[in-house]
Structure formats: structure tokens, C-alpha cells
């Protein structure tokens, strides 16, 4: 049995008013993703990738259309309710890591669970940091870590709340090739282990090929929505069935 969609996007559009002109950056996008599915959103600069990611994650409001995460329609939720949805169901990985500079690696990872009011989160955070190979860097500040290490901390933070869906925005955009490869492996491994739905925004077609599905955007519209056949896809399908 295949589960109901974790992410459902219907007829999504986003426009901005610039003086007396309306600028449409995203137009009538529709797709949905099942549990543990992986999807890449690709396209040239200015094609609307990041806008789509922001709307899917509830960071912004669409001009028209609807987004539902784990069956919950985001449309009429206020900012705080959407923040709560993110805290419970969503994980993020950003191109520029977005770690809080005044928090240690361990504290950065603990934040999502602490926000829920959970106590005794240190062990789980330390365990995740161990999983990403940073067991000796728990008490280092972001400024004391390399780019790759910072992104690993971000990965640990993204998975600590056992998200239903993970949004990754150019996760290797700021890293060298060797480090990028390690991070990508880690990302997909963690994703597989946690059976998280993955939405990946990238310029990197090679990276996109590792997902089950690629949505190509141009000028704010979907110009292609295709499946890929790679080992990750096969694994996921096997597990899903």
C-alpha cells in the first residue's frame, strides 16, 4: 500500500506587484509527494525554485493555490501555526548552513526539540552528531567548524525532529566537490533511514538524478516532471511496497 501524500501542491502561483506591473514568479504548479519520496526541483536562476521551496515549506504565502503538509492545509494557518507545522513535520538544510553562530554544534541540533518543550534532548542530539561524524565537535561553535562540518551539523539538526519532509536548498552549493559528495551521501542515507520525504532544490543535475523525480522549472512554470530510475528510487520503492 502506498501512503497518502506528505506534500500536496495544487495550482500554486506567486506574483509580486511592482509599481503598476504584476510580476509572476511562479505559475500554476501542481504536484504531490508520497512518504519517503525524493524529488529534485531544478531550473536556471530566476526560474522560481526557491520561491516554490519557500511556499511548500510554509515560509511564504502563495498568491493562489494551496499547499498541504501531512494533510494539513497551510492556507489559513497563521504564522505561528505554520511555525508549529514546520517544527513538527519539516526539516531544513540550507545552502549557507544557517547555524546560529552563538550556539555550539550540540545546541544548534537541540533547538527544534527544545522548541517543542522536550527535555533530555541532549543525548539524541549527540547521537545524531555522532551519526554525522562530529562526535568530537559537539561543543564547537560554527565559526570553529569547516563548511562541510557546518553542513553536517545542519543535517543533524534537520533530522532531529524526525521530520515527515525535508527541504534542502542547494545543500552542496557552498562546498567543494569532495565534501559535497560526502554530504550528499549522508543526506540520502539519513533520508532513507528516517523514511523522510525529500525535496531538493539544486542546479546540480547530477545531484538531481539521485532523486526519484525531477521537476524542471522555467520562468516560474513546470516544463517537465519526470521520474528517474536510480538505486535510491529502487530502494525506496522496495521499502514502500
Amino acid at each position: 500500500m502506498i501512503s497518502s501524500p506528505v506534500l500536496s501542491v495544487k495550482n500554486l502561483s506567486k506574483s509580486y506587484n511592482s509599481g503598476d506591473r504584476t510580476l509572476t514568479v511562479l505559475s500554476h504548479v501542481t504536484f504531490s509527494l508520497a512518504k519517503a519520496a525524493t524529488c529534485a526541483i531544478v531550473g536556471p536562476s530566476g526560474s522560481g525554485k526557491t520561491t516554490l521551496l519557500g511556499l511548500c515549506a510554509g515560509l511564504d504565502r502563495p498568491s493562489t493555490g494551496a499547499v498541504a503538509i501531512h494533510g494539513i492545509d497551510l492556507e489559513n494557518l497563521d504564522e505561528d501555526a505554520r511555525a508549529k507545522i514546520r517544527n513538527e513535520f519539516v526539516g531544513f538544510v540550507f545552502q549557507n548552513f544557517q547555524l546560529m553562530p552563538t550556539l555550539t554544534a550540540l545546541e544548534n541540533v537541540m533547538v527544534p526539540l527544545e522548541l517543542r518543550g522536550e527535555s533530555r534532548v541532549k543525548a539524541r542530539a549527540a547521537e545524531l552528531l555522532h551519526r554525522v561524524g562530529l562526535e568530537k565537535r559537539l561543543h564547537h561553535y560554527p565559526a570553529q567548524l569547516s563548511g562541510g562540518e557546518q553542513q553536517r551539523v545542519a543535517l543533524a539538526r534537520a533530522f532531529i525532529n524526525r521530520p515527515k519532509i525535508l527541504f534542502a536548498d542547494e545543500p552542496t552549493g557552498n562546498l567543494d566537490a569532495e565534501t559535497s559528495e560526502k554530504i550528499v551521501h549522508l543526506l540520502f542515507d539519513l533520508n532513507r533511514e528516517a523514511r523522510t520525504t525529500l525535496v531538493l532544490v539544486t542546479h546540480n543535475l547530477e545531484l538531481a538524478q539521485r532523486t526519484q523525480r525531477i521537476i524542471r522549472l522555467k520562468g516560474g512554470a513546470v516544463i517537465a516532471d519526470e521520474s528517474t530510475n536510480n538505486k535510491y528510487t529502487e530502494n525506496v520503492l522496495v521499502e514502500a511496497i
Binding site: T50, L53, G54, A57, L59, D60, G71, I72, D73, L74, E75, N76, L77, D78, E79, D80, A81, A83, K84, I85, R86, N87, E88, V90, F92, F94, N96, Q98, L99, M100, P101, T102, L103, E107, V111, P112, E114, L115, R116, G117, A143, R157, N161, D169
Partner: protein, 860 residues
């Protein structure tokens, strides 16, 4: 809203959003890491203001306690009864019936003469008999002099006067016709502050020698006083009530411990309230610094806040993290400020010593500490909330797009509520200190206007610099100048901090300068500058001759007749005094009028109503007197009203013929009531002679000659008045400057804070410039130029505001013309500019000497 999302919204009611959520506290502490030194600086900007408030308020509370404790010593007796006339036989009989211990004092102004230095000086003479003071004691050196002067031909002389004339204990001095031996220096009197010596140095001698001095003559302005000490069982207040009819009938004034205490308490409260306002300005300035610092701090936290929002933090949670930091800083600032304030209050008694009539102990006053801390915390919180409000609008989208601009709500009701609360807090504080809503409103409006004008000047500066940017200037000058309007500039903050400090100091200086110039101008251009008074009719001709023989002109010879007001339009003044419905000033009804007569007006007089009557030809004719404008207003009298005067026992009916405007700022005798010729010539009178001495030496020589020839005649010259005014203003200015120091210190801290706040940005720019090939000198010059312009424009704006404020004070309050002082203002301008550059460059040290990469790593 779909059913599912509605259900979810209900389920997601905020969890642990309160300020007391431990996670909020943990995050607030974590977030402040690496920033604590910077945060401490913001904290210290309010600490100075709180220190000032706590110190002043503590002194105020200690003063209240000291006045209570030393209440009896303030008067030195249980009851004091005073009169301008010798006591009548009935009054003497009354005094006998009152019993208790009694001391007599006769006080007047007279010249004293020091034979050793050949110096003469007008002094306040007090001839004393009895054991006064009964409570407290004269502070003298040697201490035995407090009693030894009471017997024999001895005098106790104001310490400052002896210092001035190089006289010492054991020397002799002459008062009238009697030579006294100086037996002691008078340091302090119970209930009198040292500053009162400026108005006239005090000299005591035994009452038994008064008659021999021959100084008590007709027309002399003398105060007769009796000090009583009663048994404990007698309540002085009740006693005064019982003898009130007699006191009123004889126009006797009384003072009890209670009335002296109330009077002094009020005066001291006025002093400490005024100083508190000066301290409050420092706090206000510090609060603006807090607002600016928090504003920049939050700007630098945008990304972290966006991440938190992204990870699921509710708006209120992120808001509370930073609110808690602001609260903690405010609290820490308050505690540190209070501690410094407690220390400073130990210094204040010596700063204020000349104005304090009581011995002050520096006890810790918890209410004062609580009040100061509350004021500090409130102001810090209100001002910090202004920039904190922006947190609510920070979008999580910033994590994806660093250039995403959060649009603040233009009409945010919370922002307006905060503005209203700040205005309310300032007005409330000022109203409490000034004990009047109007004064409070005026203070708040003046502070608001100053800040508004400084902000407007800052805005104008950035706009004008951008508009008229000098493209032809060299790169370093253009870069330095451009820093005034580029994003994240410090122009507004520094204009406020430096401008306000410069404004305070300059206003103080300009006002003092204006007042002093007004006094010195009085004697300029052949105007009289030396006045002799208490000249008896039989001495008049010889005194005038003495002046002429010294080669000086007799510019005016004026007769003076003392009188009291008896009736106004048929109503007895005693009746009017009791009438609670009348608006006539009690002072104008009670006072002894020193009037003159002549047939023409002086050139400092101008008739503004009615007609001046030069002389009365027949004794049956109506006497038309001329009233000075202000006294006519006090008496609510107009042309045609009837005034009856008691001219030393003879009732004299007059009508107001004219009302005059008098320029009192001239050193010549002017009068509230001027009679026509042909009325008062036969009345007991004395004379005043006015002259002009071209030099201080000639003035001194003439005064010596006059005192030796006529010991009862007193002289006062402009130099003495100038010295007195200068001494008083210097004392007052010292206290105000001491308090203004808090504002300046706050200004410097805010300045340093603003510079440090922008340090990171400046570092990035400097590193970029150096990477692009700029050398150390160029980077340093760019920074120096920026602070040069900032300091210069801020000081200039402050100086312009100060000029406007001093002009307003001169014209509206002191009713004189404003005296600009270009050179001192230029000095202030250069000093402020130099200081700004110095602090700016000191804070930038370490940036330009180190390799760019090392700097970036260290500051990250």
C-alpha cells in the same frame, strides 16, 4: 479554512510562550555569548543616568532626614520674632510675658574697615545679646570664639571676608565708630548655607556696643529680632496662634522650627528635584543609546531569528528571547547604576556643601535606590521595545533569501502605544520632580523638541550630503563623507548623543555669560557704578563735597523716605491681608516702601499710563504719586486709585497719577513709589549719592575716605556686585556642570557604543579596502574624516540649539539681551570634534594593523 487546518490551529495553541519558559532563558543566555562585552557597554549607557538619579534622590532623602534631625538647630531657637522697627513697649511687655530664655539681635548692612589692609567692604552686621543659638552652634575657628566674642569689644567675622582682606584672628576692625578685635573666623551658622555669605559676609559683635557704633540712624534698614527658647511643654506653634492679633497689628514676622523646616525642606526639594531632572536627561540620553544599540543588535540577529522561525519558533518565543536580554541588561544596568549612585552620593555633599544648611550624612536610601532602578528599568525597557517590535515582522524566508526585506507595518499600533508610553513616562517623571503638570509638560516638550530637532538635523545632514555630494574631492574625503548616509550609518545616533551633550554644556555657558555681561554692562558708558547710601541730611553736603574732592562727579543725590502702605481705595491693608478672596500680593502689602520725590523722570524711567505730576503747589492739592509697573500689578492698582501711606506715623493720602516702567538694570536708585516735590521734604529721610569711579582703585579710595569720615554711610560698587554675581553663578554652575557631567559621560558611552556597534561593518569595509590595495593610512583617514564630520555636525547642531535656548532664556526668563560668545563656542566645537575622532579611532584600533583575514576570523 478547511476543517483539518482549523483543527490543527486549535491544537497548536501556543506552548510555553511565556517569558518564564526555561528554554527562553537558556536561549537568551546562549545568544548573548561573544556579545557580552558589547552588551555591557549598552548597559553602562543607562547605568550612568541611574547613578545620577540614585545619588541625587539619596541626597534628597538624606537631606529630609537631616532637616528633621537637625530641625531645632536650623533656627537655633524655638521661636524667632522679627521687625523692621524697634519693638513697641506693648511688644516688649508681651515678650516679657512669654518668658523662656531670650536673645536679641539687631541686623543691618554696613561698611566695615580693616585698618591693617586699609580695606572697606559692605557686610551684614549682627549685634547679638544672649546665648543664641540655643540649639546647634556657631562653627568658628578657634571654636572658643563662638562664646568669647560675646564679651568685650570682640567680633566674629566671616571666614571668606578675612581671607579676602588678609586679616587674621587678633587683628582689629572698625564697624562704625567702634574698633573691635577679631576673635574668630565664622565658618558656619546653624540653618544658613555657606552660599548665603556671597550675598553679604556676616560679622557678629555684642549688642552692648551697637549704640557706640552710631550706625543705627534714621533711615537705616534694620532688622530687630528676638530668639526664644521655651520649656519643652510649650508649643511654639500654638503660642504664635495665641499672640497672632498682636503680631499682625505690629507687623511682626515669626518663624518657628516647623516653619523654618518647611521652608528649608521645600528649598532643598527644589534643588534636588532640579538636579534629578538633569540626571534624568542623562538617563534619557542613555535610553536613546539603548534603543540604537538594540536596533543594530537586532539587525545583526536577523538571520538567527529567521532560522529560529524556520525551525518552528513562534513569534512570541523569538521576541521573548531578546526581550529577556533587554530586561536583563536593564536590570544589570540598574544594579550597577544604583551601586555607582550610592558611591557618588558620598561625593555630593561636598559638591553641594555651599548650598546645604545642614550637616549631611551619606546614608544608603533604599527608597531612592528603588526609585532610580525603577526609572532606569522602565526607560531602558520602553526604549528597547521600540526596535524589538521589529522581531515580529522578521520572515523565515530570510533563510532562503538574504536580501529579502521584511516590510514593517507602517501603522503598527504597538509602536504608537510605545511612543505614547515613553512620552507619558518622561512627562510623569518631570511632573513628579517639578511638582506641577504644566512644568512637567514643558520639560517633556522641551526634551522632545531637542531630540526632534537633533533628529531632523541628522536627517537633513544625510539628505544634504547625498544631494550636494562633492564629487571632486579626493577619494578618502569622499569615502569618509559618504559614510554619513550609507546604509547602517551612525549619523542619527551620534547626532543625538553628541549634539545633546554639546547643547547642555553650551546652554549653561551661554546663560552664565549673558547674566555676567548684563551686570558688567550696567556700569559701562559713563553709567554710575558706585552708590553711597544711609547718608543723613546733615552729612549730605559734606559727603557730596568729599566725592567731588576725589575728582569724581556727583551724578545723583536722592532723598529716601521710608513708609508703609495703610489703605488701598479705603480698605485697610490688614483687612486685605486677611481677605482670602483678594489676589493682591501679601508681600506688596506688608513691605516697607523706600520712596523718593522729585520733579522729573530719570532716563531709565518711562510713563506708560496716566500723567506724571512734578510738584504739589498747595498742601490741599491731591498728591499724585507714580507707581512702578510691576508693583502696580502686584497691588492690582491703576491710575486714579487711592493709596494711603503711613509716613513714619503720619497718614498721607495719595492717588495714583501715573504708572512707570523702570529699567532696573542700571546702577542708580529707582523706586516703586515716586512722590512729587512739595510733599515729603519735611519728612525724616536719608540720602543716596550716586557717582562713577573710573577705576577700582579710585572706588576703593573713595569708599575708605567715606567710611572714615562717615562710619554710618555704606558704599556698594559695581565690582562688588559683579564679584558676588560671578561667585554665585560659579557655584551654581559648578553644581550644574557636575550633574551635566553625567550626560556627557553617557554621551561618550553612547558614542563609544555606536562606534563599537558598527565596528564589524567597518571592519568588513576596511578589510575590503585593504584587500583592494588601500594602505593603513588611507583607511585610518577615511575613519577619521567620518568622525570629524559626525562630531563637527553634531556639535554644531548642539551649539545652534544652545544659542536658541540661551537666547530664549535671556529674553523670556531673565528679560535681558542675549550675549553670544563666539570664541568659547568655537573651543567647545573643536573639543567635541576632537573627542569624537579620538573615541572613534581608539575603537578602530586593532583593525588596521592586523592582516585582513586574521581580523575577519577574530571578529566572526
Amino acid at each position: 479554512m478547511s476543517k483539518q487546518s482549523k483543527n490543527y490551529a486549535l491544537k497548536t495553541m501556543p506552548i510555553k510562550l511565556s517569558l518564564f519558559d526555561p528554554w527562553i532563558w537558556r536561549m537568551a543566555a546562549r545568544d548573548s555569548r561573544n556579545q557580552r562585552r558589547r552588551l555591557l557597554l549598552f548597559m553602562s549607557s543607562i547605568a550612568v543616568g541611574i547613578a545620577a538619579l540614585v545619588a541625587i534622590s539619596s541626597v534628597g532623602k538624606n537631606l529630609d532626614a537631616a532637616i528633621d534631625e537637625q530641625a531645632k538647630a536650623l533656627l537655633g531657637a524655638d521661636l524667632l520674632i522679627r521687625s523692621r522697627q524697634p519693638f513697641a513697649a506693648t511688644t516688649e511687655a508681651l515678650f516679657d510675658s512669654l518668658g523662656g530664655a531670650q536673645s536679641r539681635e539687631v541686623g543691618f548692612a554696613s561698611m566695615i574697615y580693616f585698618p591693617k589692609s586699609n580695606g572697606t567692604r559692605l557686610a551684614r552686621i549682627r549685634a547679638l545679646a544672649g546665648d543664641f543659638p540655643y540649639y546647634g552652634e556657631f562653627e568658628t575657628a578657634p571654636s572658643a570664639a563662638a562664646t568669647s566674642f560675646r564679651t568685650g569689644q570682640h567680633a566674629l567675622v566671616e571666614d571668606a571676608l578675612l581671607l579676602q582682606y588678609g586679616a587674621a584672628v587678633g587683628d582689629s576692625m572698625k564697624i562704625g565708630a567702634v574698633k573691635f578685635q577679631i576673635v574668630g573666623r565664622l565658618k558656619k551658622m546653624p540653618g544658613e548655607s555657606s552660599a548665603s555669605a556671597f550675598f553679604g559676609p556676616r560679622v557678629y559683635f555684642p549688642l552692648a556696643y551697637l549704640e557706640q557704633t552710631q550706625l543705627v540712624q534714621r533711615g537705616s534698614q534694620i532688622t530687630y529680632a528676638v530668639y526664644f527658647k521655651f520649656d519643652r511643654a510649650i508649643d511654639a506653634k500654638k503660642l504664635v496662634e495665641a499672640i497672632k492679633p498682636h503680631l499682625e497689628q505690629q507687623r511682626l514676622r515669626t518663624e518657628t522650627v516647623e516653619t523654618r523646616k518647611a521652608e528649608l525642606g521645600q528649598a532643598m526639594r527644589n534643588l534636588t528635584n532640579f538636579l534629578s531632572l538633569v540626571g534624568f536627561i542623562a538617563l534619557l540620553l542613555g535610553s536613546v543609546g539603548v534603543a540604537s544599540a538594540v536596533h543594530v543588535y537586532i539587525k545583526q540577529k536577523l538571520s538567527a531569528i529567521a532560522v529560529l522561525r524556520c525551525l518552528g519558533a513562534a513569534t512570541r518565543q523569538t521576541f521573548n528571547i531578546f526581550l529577556l536580554q533587554a530586561l536583563a541588561l536593564g536590570l544589570l544596568g540598574s544594579v550597577v547604576g544604583a551601586a555607582i549612585g550610592v558611591y557618588i552620593q558620598t561625593l555630593l555633599p561636598s559638591v553641594l556643601s555651599d548650598f546645604l544648611p545642614v550637616q549631611l550624612e551619606a546614608n544608603i536610601s533604599w527608597p531612592a535606590i528603588a526609585e532610580g532602578m525603577l526609572a532606569g528599568l522602565t526607560m531602558a525597557l520602553l526604549f528597547a521595545l521600540l526596535p524589538l517590535l521589529a522581531i515580529r515582522n522578521i520572515s523565515p524566508l530570510l533563510t532562503l533569501r538574504a536580501d529579502y526585506e521584511t516590510t514593517a507595518r507602517a501603522r503598527d499600533p504597538w509602536r504608537w502605544l510605545l511612543y505614547a508610553l515613553i512620552a507619558l513616562a518622561i512627562t510623569g517623571f518631570a511632573m513628579r520632580q517639578m511638582q506641577g503638570w504644566l512644568q512637567g509638560l514643558i520639560f517633556a516638550a522641551a526634551v522632545g523638541a531637542s531630540f526632534g530637532l537633533l533628529s531632523a538635523a541628522a536627517k537633513l545632514l544625510t539628505v544634504m550630503t547625498r544631494k550636494f555630494f562633492p564629487d571632486g574631492w579626493s577619494y578618502t574625503w569622499r569615502q569618509g563623507l559618504a559614510n554619513l548616509f550609507r546604509p547602517h550609518n551612525q549619523t542619527l545616533m551620534l547626532m543625538l548623543a553628541i549634539g545633546f551633550g554639546a547643547f547642555l554644556i553650551s546652554t549653561l555657558y551661554l546663560t552664565q555669560h549673558t547674566l555676567l555681561r548684563q551686570v558688567s554692562l550696567t556700569g559701562a558708558d559713563e553709567q554710575p557704578n558706585l552708590v553711597f547710601f544711609d547718608i543723613q541730611p546733615d552729612q549730605q553736603a559734606e559727603a557730596a563735597e568729599l566725592i567731588r574732592a576725589s575728582g569724581l562727579p556727583v551724578m545723583q543725590q536722592v532723598p529716601i523716605v521710608t513708609m508703609r502702605l495703610e489703605k488701598i481705595n479705603g480698605r485697610d491693608v490688614r483687612e486685605l491681608q486677611k481677605d482670602s478672596t483678594t489676589t493682591i500680593s501679601g508681600w506688596a502689602l506688608r513691605r516697607e516702601y523706600r520712596s523718593s520725590y522729585r520733579d522729573s523722570l530719570n532716563d531709565n524711567e518711562k510713563i506708560i499710563a496716566g500723567k506724571f505730576q512734578p510738584r504739589v503747589k498747595n498742601s490741599a492739592d491731591t498728591i499724585f504719586v507714580s507707581l512702578e509697573k510691576d508693583i502696580a500689578e502686584e497691588l492690582k492698582a491703576k491710575v486714579g486709585d487711592e493709596l494711603v501711606f503711613d509716613v513714619q506715623g503720619i497718614a498721607m493720602a495719595t492717588r495714583i497719577g501715573s504708572v512707570r516702567e523702570v529699567d532696573w538694570q542700571r546702577m542708580m536708585p529707582s523706586f516703586f513709589v515716586l512722590f512729587p516735590q512739595g510733599v515729603l521734604e519735611a519728612a525724616p529721610q536719608f540720602h543716596v549719592i550716586v557717582t562713577r569711579a573710573p577705576s577700582n582703585e579710585q572706588s576703593a579710595r573713595l569708599q575708605q575716605a567715606m567710611v572714615q569720615r562717615f562710619p554710618n554711610v555704606s558704599g556698594i560698587d559695581l565690582a562688588l556686585i559683579l564679584n558676588t554675581v560671578d561667585a554665585i553663578l560659579n557655584k551654581v554652575a559648578f553644581v550644574i556642570r557636575f550633574m551635566a557631567l553625567f550626560s556627557i559621560m553617557t554621551g561618550l558611552i553612547v558614542l563609544a557604543g555606536a562606534v563599537i556597534t558598527s565596528r564589524y561593518q567597518r571592519i568588513q569595509e576596511s578589510v575590503l579596502l585593504r584587500t583592494l590595495g588601500a594602505n593603513r593610512r588611507q583607511v585610518l583617514r577615511i575613519m577619521a574624516i567620518e568622525y570629524f564630520f559626525l562630531g563637527g555636525f553634531a556639535a554644531l547642531t548642539g551649539l545652534l540649539l544652545a544659542t536658541a535656548a540661551s537666547w530664549a532664556l535671556a529674553v523670556l526668563v531673565f528679560e535681558t539681551s542675549f550675549a553670544p560668545a563666539a570664541l568659547p563656542m568655537l573651543v567647545i566645537l573643536i573639543l567635541v570634534m576632537g573627542l569624537t575622532m579620538l573615541i572613534g579611532l581608539l575603537n578602530s584600533r586593532g583593525i588596521i594593523d592586523r592582516p585582513p583575514l586574521e581580523v575577519l576570523r577574530a571578529e566572526a
